[in-house]
């Protein structure tokens, strides 16, 4: 049996991605895959406060879940999949598994950790400005009550701890080469040209980079369109994992 471990993104993106992962998991299971969904320590329904979440911890958890999946004894092949930071987690975890995964699927992976961090921070203030409307402009107390104190960072209700901030820059620098270890990889991204350096150094991995063809804002706070499932991603993933697409 082919097992697929789904790695969550971070923060509000994980909340928004829940429906996609549920539908994707159901579709994969119906097609005969064993599917494992989980929350990292310090996220979702798992133990740990928000402050406990960091990138290295998430990678460790993904490795642990993948090894546990192997140990169950049902799987003859194992693959990892992740959206946004979950894609980065899947890629980093793949190189640490005792038996490398056969496939990696990355939906809009984070390519530049430092830029991603900047986006998270700026998105927070922009969102607060929008949701409080006119009040935000004229009420300094409201800003004090909602912005994090000097030296602390958060993004849409999720803390950006020191460890996470440091690791984003350290482990995911823009210029860093492909860090995955697998036979086949599929990356769906809006930044196809920026992934050229991955393709140049993917080594034994057959890495296919394709246009995501999606304009979904995974980090928005708005309830509108919260349950979002790009079905073409699911179809491409099924074809890729089943080896029926032209890319694997």
């Amino acid at each position: 049996m082919h097992a697929v471990v789904l790695c969550n993104p971070f923060g509000q993106e994980a909340i928004r991605a829940h429906r996609l992962y549920r539908v994707l998991g159901d579709r994969l299971a119906a097609a005969g895959f064993e599917v494992v969904r989980f929350d990292y320590f310090g996220s979702g329904d798992s133990a740990g406060d928000d402050e406990a979440f960091d990138l290295l911890g998430a990678v460790n958890d993904a490795v642990g879940v993948a090894e546990w999946t192997w140990a169950r004894g049902h799987a003859t092949r194992l693959s990892l999949l992740g959206l946004r930071l979950g894609g980065s987690v899947a890629m980093l975890a793949s190189s640490r598994l005792t038996t490398p995964p056969s496939h990696l699927v990355l939906f809009e992976p984070v390519l530049d950790g430092a830029r991603y961090l900047e986006q998270l921070v700026s998105n927070n203030e922009r969102t607060l400005t929008e949701i409080f409307g006119s009040r935000w402009k004229i009420d300094p107390n409201l800003r004090v009550r909602n912005l994090p104190p000097e030296g602390e960072y958060e993004s849409l209700g999720f803390v950006l701890g020191q460890g996470l901030r440091h690791q984003l820059g350290e482990l995911l620098p823009m210029a860093r080469p492909w860090q995955g270890r697998c036979a086949y990889a599929l990356a769906l991204t809006r930044e196809v040209p920026q992934l050229a350096h991955w393709q140049a150094c993917a080594g034994s991995t057959r890495l296919n980079v394709r246009e995501a063809a999606s304009e979904i804002d995974w980090a928005t706070n708005s309830a509108v369109n919260t349950a979002i499932v790009p079905m073409h991603w699911i179809e491409q993933t099924l074809e890729f994992l089943q080896g029926t697409s032209a890319y694997a």
Binding site: I15, R135, G157, N221
Partner: protein, 288 residues
């Protein structure tokens, strides 16, 4: 505190996580479920944080996904959605009763969960408390004027702003005339009176009814006594709260802390005021 995720319900199709305090749990336990389409962890993981906070004060809880939401299966039953939600909430109370020994329950309705909580409370005598967050449209004339004042202050009194305000005023007048003429206005008032009467009947049964609103951008709620004023005679015996500096989905961590503290205090105050038939009308609590 210990937590356990499980499948439950007649079809084992509901997914939830029970959070039980160490030691003896209180007799009243908290039921948390979907806020809109967000799965059981709640907006910004709020339900997880609230569940753990309440466990530290001796109160057990369950956070779960209704049928067809989050991780739960679609219902195979032919009942309507409203009835199914009530069945799901009652199944969650059954499960929480087994896990914690609680015999009475507080339901937290978040936005679209407000009418669902009220419906379940009407159907199940074990419900001791309903906390209803941002689920009512209760604009008053004073609230409209205050919001207008805020907008004026923010946009200033320049010529461009005046033109903008003139255009908006014309649009608002036209919209107002359409609303007055629309037959749905009477229907809306009737639906609102029915909802208020349901709250009153819950209160008469001894259920603690708590109505909580967020300030957000001030377009819906913008002063402390607004909900009480808007509900008029139906407000008697209900408790009201207004979280001035938080937005509807509690985006900042400080907003989450304010909300959790408010809910915690409301639940603990009710727990201390038990023997509901003799309980005096609780005092207004407000965090603004």
């Amino acid at each position: 505190m210990h937590e356990r995720s499980m499948l439950f319900g007649d079809d084992q199709g509901l997914v939830g996580t029970v959070c039980v305090p160490d030691g003896t749990a209180r007799d009243v336990a908290l039921v948390l479920f979907n806020a809109g389409v967000v799965h059981r962890v709640g907006p910004h993981r709020l339900h997880v944080k609230l569940a753990r906070e309440m466990a530290s004060h001796g109160m057990a809880s369950i956070r779960f996904d209704l049928h067809g939401m989050g991780d739960s299966l679609r219902s195979g039953m032919t009942t309507g959605h409203g009835e199914q939600v009530v069945l799901d909430l009652r199944a969650a109370m059954d499960e929480l009763q087994r896990a914690s020994g609680a015999t009475r329950f507080a339901l937290l309705g978040f936005c679209s969960g407000v009418p669902q909580s009220v419906a379940a409370a009407l159907a199940d005598p074990r419900v001791a408390s309903v906390l209803l967050y941002d689920g009512f449209a209760l604009k008053t004339r004073r609230a409209r004027m205050r919001y207008l004042g805020i907008r004026f202050r923010a946009h200033g009194f320049t010529l461009a702003a005046m033109r903008l305000w003139m255009r908006r005023a014309v649009q608002a007048a036209a919209e107002s005339m359409r609303r007055v003429a629309a037959p749905s206005r009477a229907e809306a008032k009737s639906a609102r009176d029915t909802a208020f009467a349901q709250l009153r009947s819950l209160r008469e049964r001894g259920v603690d009814v708590v109505v909580l609103a967020a300030g957000s951008d001030y377009s819906e709620f913008n002063y402390r006594d607004q909900a009480r004023e808007a509900m008029g005679p139906y407000a008697e015996g209900l408790r009201f709260g207004f979280l001035d500096a938080v937005d509807h989905v509690l985006t900042s961590r400080k907003a989450q802390q304010d909300y959790i503290a408010w809910i915690r205090n409301a639940l603990l105050q009710q727990a201390q005021a038990e023997t509901p038939a003799q309980a005096p009308a609780p005092t207004l609590m407000c965090n603004s």
